[in-house]
């Protein structure tokens, strides 16, 4: 119910922002389309917490800023590789990821693909298959995973004791680290 209200508010704001005409007939058309879309969404049963923009509160803008910085850094890295194509060492990374909710996994996959150098090829219930352009790109995945956990409110950004908490499913922390740098070792 709360998610539905957020969806209606979002749709109404979107209409007001895009139409830019504030006359009665146009506003009625807007109302009609908001009702129609809400009915369709309820009928398709795709309503969920992703329609609630406050689900991550203040963490979301900080995550976006961090993601923007990552995008700039990885763009420059890949742009350098374009001029030296012989330097790339493509690799496949298999990674187990567990998030509290499906939304976390979607954000993980989306941000991973958004940073050039890593592309999510497959996303299953427990893991991901990621194609990375070289070892440096593959290394950034661990940091992204920690950051999404932080976004979900599980732990602070990069403290070791919190990092261990969500890694119980794969065993010890050092084994975990080895898995993340696996790509680099294979490349040398």
């Amino acid at each position: 119910m709360r998610d539905t209200i957020f969806l209606i508010l979002l749709l109404a704001l979107l209409w007001l922002a895009i139409s830019g005409l504030y006359k009665a007939p146009i506003l009625l058309l807007g109302l009609a389309s908001v009702v129609l879309v809400t009915w369709l969404v309820i009928r398709m049963r795709i309503i969920g917490e992703e329609h609630n923009p406050t689900v991550f509160a203040w963490r979301l803008p900080r995550f976006w800023l961090w993601a923007l910085r990552e995008i700039v850094v990885s763009n420059i890295h890949v742009a350098r590789l374009v001029f030296r194509p012989e330097r790339i060492s493509p690799r496949i990374v298999y990674q187990n990821v567990q998030f509290k909710r499906p939304l976390g996994k979607v954000i993980y996959g989306n941000t991973c693909t958004l940073t050039p150098g890593t592309v999510t090829v497959q996303l299953t219930r427990t893991g991901t298959v990621i194609h990375a352009l070289d070892a440096k790109s593959a290394e950034s995945l661990g940091q992204l995973e920690r950051k999404v956990h932080w976004l979900e409110g599980e732990s602070e950004p990069v403290t070791p004791e919190n990092g261990r908490q969500h890694r119980q499913h794969t065993g010890q922390a050092d084994r975990e680290d080895k898995r993340q740098t696996h790509g680099r070792e294979a490349g040398q």
């Binding site: 895009i18 763009n75 742009a79 493509p90 496949i92 592309v119 299953t124 194609h131």
Partner: protein
Amino acid sequence: MFETIIDIVSWLLLLAGGAFGIIGGIGLLRFPDFYSRLHAAGLTETLCAICIIFGLVLQAGVSLLALKLLLILLFLLFTAPTATHAVARSAMIDEVDPILSDDSPRLVEFEDRP
């Protein structure tokens, strides 16, 4: 004075966006296999779009136009990775083989562990 600085930042952003676009296009031609070309396409779809849209936002100032530009950027950043993932996943199902560096693990389906 202040407006001049805004203008110059906006020009730099626009030119940087164009440059990243061309670099991504060159990468699209130079990279050896389909999967590495995905990354070159990502280059043109992320920073190129971000730089150009932010450059235009600085030109537009605070207005409805700027809001629409930011909405375009939001849509692009939400849909571009989804499209890239869809293309990559289809290629994987269709068994397009990636060129991999020596010793790296091969591309196979990920198995769910209960």
